[in-house]
């Protein structure tokens, strides 16, 4: 079973990624890409304030989306596993999965009609006579990107959280209560640590997808909310600077990995292990 999967990964993931990685040390004259061993592209990425800002913003938006997605997905996952909606669990989970089938672009456009300057939310606020409603902040902004990505990624976060929470024996929570833990104490000391693996996976999944996204910022972000992915796309698609685009992509990948690794280290320090 592992060998064919490994072969698949090698052909369709490792090799293309390797080629891209090789590009990032090369150069271009605008027509052809020449391979080499130059660090020029990385130097450009690190020294240019534009790219630096884009990458930091990607990591920041990704983290916000990860945290908000978990904050919204956790109560739902809890309700259908340990909470009051256990009987409806399968149905709710089915709905969550169905929502994943809805096209991503469609949902982005849906949010655009809601968040835009002439959008539904804006008109509602205007009709209600809310003075100085921060409509500017809603349309074409980082907030718009974060709201949209969270709405798209909450279902993604629900799945690992549900899987982790359903593995927690209710008797463990009851045992903690009988040993003197309040409802919140048992939640903090038993439920959350035992679900930590799911929380970490949910964060990693949503963070990586959000930080690497370029469509949402393109359609909803405006100039102040472009992410690193937009820079990569324009290097490849517009300016034909594939080596620089690759370097941006790999810097982002490296920093995302480092952030996730640091986060796991901190959680382990706090006594929360990423095992059940």
């Amino acid at each position: 079973m592992v060998a064919p999967a490994g072969l698949f990964m090698a052909i369709f993931f490792i090799v293309p990624l390797g080629v891209l990685f090789a590009y990032s040390f090369g150069a271009t004259n605008g027509i052809d890409v020449s391979f080499g061993f130059s660090l020029d592209n990385y130097t450009k990425v690190v020294t240019s304030p534009l790219f630096r800002d884009l990458i930091w913003r990607s990591l920041w938006v990704g983290s916000c989306v990860g945290i908000f997605s978990i904050a919204l997905a956790f109560p739902l996952a809890y309700a259908i596993t340990l909470g009051p909606l256990q009987r409806a669990g399968t149905f709710v989970l089915l709905m969550v999965i169905v929502s994943l089938f809805t096209a991503y672009i469609v949902r982005i456009y849906a949010w655009r009609t809601l968040l835009g300057k002439q959008g539904a939310i804006g008109q509602l606020l205007a009709a209600a006579g809310v003075p100085g409603a921060p409509l500017e902040a809603l349309s074409y902004s980082k907030a718009a990107v974060i709201i949209t990505l969270v709405s798209i990624l909450v279902p993604v976060a629900v799945l690992p959280l549900t899987s982790a929470l359903s593995g927690i024996p209710p008797a463990c929570i009851a045992a903690a209560r009988s040993l003197g833990a309040t409802a919140f104490g048992a939640f903090a000391r038993i439920t959350v640590p035992l679900a930590s693996r799911g929380i970490i996976s949910a964060f990693a999944l949503t963070f990586v997808i959000a930080a690497g996204d370029f469509i949402t910022p393109q359609l909803l972000g405006g100039p102040q909310a472009q992410l690193a992915g937009n820079a990569v796309v324009s290097r490849f698609g517009l300016s034909f600077d594939w080596p620089l685009g690759s370097a941006i992509a790999f810097t982002l990948i490296f920093l995302m990995g480092a952030l996730l690794w640091a986060m796991t280290l901190v959680l382990r320090r706090l006594g929360i292990k990423d095992r059940p």
Binding site: P169, C172, A175, R177, S178, L179, G185, S196, I272
Partner: protein
């Protein structure tokens, strides 16, 4: 503070009912458990014993009735404020903590200082022969060790009452038998009140000061193991605890004795049946029956004796069992084995059986029995 100061019951429930939708899990259960006793809640699965235990612990809320722990009304008290320890069927150890962290959980919650906690944890680990396991993780433990960790964890904060929900059902027979005696010794040693939920009648008899027999959400009978086994008050009690030869028939009272006419058998006892019905059952335990060789298969009907043939003879190590075919009845007889004083029989041997009056218990013929 393992012993309670007041002389009242350590745990009492009064008029407890519990409904889950249309299902009546408990109906009007009243029970008081004296401090320092080992009491078993015994019954088949679904009889409500675990529900009753969860209500006492505060994990489930009763539909009606009151729960008193050490004289205080705790009917509406949150589980973490009730002075009871709890041991679960599958132990419910915390998998993200070491053995020592599990055992010290209650103490850390209470905010006990670190050195006191450590000392108490080590004391408990030593008590349960887990001295060097403190740093182990839970998945490195055997079933018996996990069970002892669960006990140590529940006892860490010295609760005056310990509730145990079938804590041995996951252990194999040998280990279970050893743990039964160990648990009994432990209970005597610490003097806490143990309320032990089980469906295993042997387990209940081995360990308990008192058995509370439950069926269909009600308490059917309670008493010492000797009382409940020796004097069953219902067909359910007779059948659930051990084995019983049961005969039904019309009851007749004459000259201070009660007679039950079961066709070819006549049972007679001077111990009066404590009910007035004219129809009933008689229960005789298999070991209360004497068996002897007989050549005369056509004996006339005498009270408390009969003649028949051995249909099955089973050797079970410590004892022999015979199924004796009588005229219209078959009788289970159990005799100690390994003694030359007790004769043995083979299949098809003609035998006579008899029992003394004290071996008979009359049971009222309840419609629902």
């Amino acid at each position: 503070m393992t012993t309670t100061t007041s002389s009242g019951p350590a745990v009492a429930v009064a008029g407890i009912s519990k409904r889950y939708g249309a299902v009546q899990a408990l109906s009007d259960v009243t029970l008081a458990v004296a401090p320092g006793r080992f009491v078993s809640l015994l019954g088949p699965s679904g009889c409500g014993k675990t529900t009753l235990m969860r209500i006492i612990a505060g994990l489930d809320r009763q539909s009606e009735g009151r729960v008193l722990i050490d004289g205080k009304d705790m009917s509406r008290t949150a589980p973490h404020r009730r002075p009871v320890g709890l041991v679960f069927q599958r132990y419910a150890l915390f998998p993200h903590m070491t053995v020592a962290e599990n055992v010290g959980f209650a103490l850390r919650l209470r905010g006990a200082d670190r050195s006191a906690t450590q000392a108490r944890v080590q004391e408990l680990l030593d008590l349960f022969q887990l001295g060097q396991f403190g740093g182990r993780s839970i998945d490195q433990l055997s079933g018996g060790q996990a069970q002892r960790v669960a006990l140590a964890r529940a006892l860490a904060d010295s609760p005056p009452v310990l509730l145990l929900d079938e804590p041995m059902s996951a252990l194999d027979l040998k280990l279970r038998q050893a743990m039964q005696l160990e648990l009994r010794r432990l209970q005597k040693q610490i003097g806490a009140t143990f309320l032990f939920v089980t469906h295993d009648q042997d387990e209940a008899m081995v360990m308990s000061d008192e058995i509370v027999l439950m069926n269909n959400g009600e308490i059917v009978q309670r008493g010492t193991p000797e009382e409940v086994y020796g004097r069953p008050r219902s067909l359910f009690s007779a059948r659930f605890l051990g084995e019983a030869n049961l005969f039904s028939g019309p009851l007749r009272r004459e000259a201070g004795a009660t007679l039950l006419d079961a066709g070819s058998l006549l049972l007679k006892s001077h111990a009066a049946a404590d009910f007035a019905a004219t129809k009933g059952w008689a229960c005789i335990r298999p070991e209360a029956i004497r068996i002897a060789a007989s050549s005369d298969n056509k004996a006339e009907r005498r009270p408390n004796a009969a003649a028949g043939r051995v249909r099955e003879a089973i050797f079970q190590g410590a004892y022999r069992r015979y199924v004796v075919e009588l005229d219209g009845h078959s009788l289970l007889v159990q005799q100690p084995a390994g003694s030359d004083a007790v004769p043995t029989f083979s299949e098809a041997d003609p035998v006579s059986v008899s029992w003394s009056e004290s071996g008979i218990t009359y049971i009222e013929d309840a419609d629902n029995a």
